[in-house]
Subunit: 183 residues, 2 copies
């Protein structure tokens, strides 16, 4: 279905090759036969972890340059070249927070902003975990703390948490928990 | 709190000025006194609408160039220069779907991928709506249909819906609905 919607790429030019993202400008053939330009950010993909321990969620405070402020997020990072999302999730969790998870389950895969980026964020759910030691990247500064799951949801509801992957992870976790409980 | 995390911008250079996004490369002073480079996509912000009518959600099929495929999303679009998010939401809803909402409520504001973009997506909840006529942009092709809210949630759970704003809107809607019902 929806074959009437597809665009055909006529040409693509890389305008920028960066550390986290590349930028491409393409020309496409539209469904009506006309042409248009499309801007696309190319990103290797990200992995994120919702770690829940005794009803508490491991949350991070991190300064995010594009917004110029510190925000709340679950631990996450970008995939290295050729790295599978599960390994990246375990690696980023340990690097940023010092927590080593023994078991990961797939929670969701999300497209953060499909109008201009090809990033996929793979979100995992971790339960069994033990503390090892934090060793973040040279240019990464992160404060971690455990917050009660219901307080996290209250922070989603009142707008304190705005990060998309964190909102999806928390609302989906609560949805699944309520479903298990039954009506 | 978390003053220890802030980065100070030393210089910023615009590398690209585009139709939907701009790209900036900046140099920052890190909390440890060293410097680092930061890539930032500048975006005017987006507005999205969860329209629920008789238990059905207005969903769209749209080809998304960065992923090279058609995906499910709630109606959304970018803010025009100086436009307030609520007006943009009403305008995009009507342009893309032909539905005119009489009443909007704030549902959430989300940061799609805070590592490299400054986009904010303002999500609204619309109830009272009537059909007018569809008049999408020249380069925009969209198929709309109403889908039962519980089927939408099933599509979130099985991975058919991956768009972040749509996931947040649907899971939050169900969370709020369950909360109203009580335990």
């Amino acid at each position: 279905m929806d074959e009437d919607l597809a665009e055909i790429t006529l040409s693509a030019e890389r305008l920028y090759k960066g550390k986290i993202i590349d930028l491409e400008l393409s020309e496409v053939r539209l469904p009506n036969g006309r042409t248009a330009r499309r801007e696309a950010v190319r990103h290797p993909g990200g992995a994120a972890v919702l770690l829940v321990k005794d009803g508490m969620v491991l949350m991070e405070r991190q300064f995010r340059f594009p917004y110029g402020k510190v925000i709340w997020e679950i631990p996450a990072g970008k995939l290295n070249s050729g790295e599978d999302p599960c390994s990246a999730a375990l690696r980023e969790l340990e690097e940023e927070t010092g927590w080593r998870a023994k078991k990961l389950e797939r929670l969701a895969e999300i497209y953060p902003s499909p109008g201009y980026t090809d990033e996929i964020i793979y979100i995992f759910f971790a339960t069994e975990a033990e503390f090892s030691r934090q060793h973040p990247d040279d240019d990464e500064f992160v404060n971690c703390r455990f917050i009660d799951i219901d307080e996290c949801i209250a922070m989603c509801e009142n707008g304190e948490i705005s990060d998309a992957k964190t909102l999806v992870a928390l609302y989906k976790y609560v949805y699944d928990r309520n479903k298990k409980k039954g009506p």
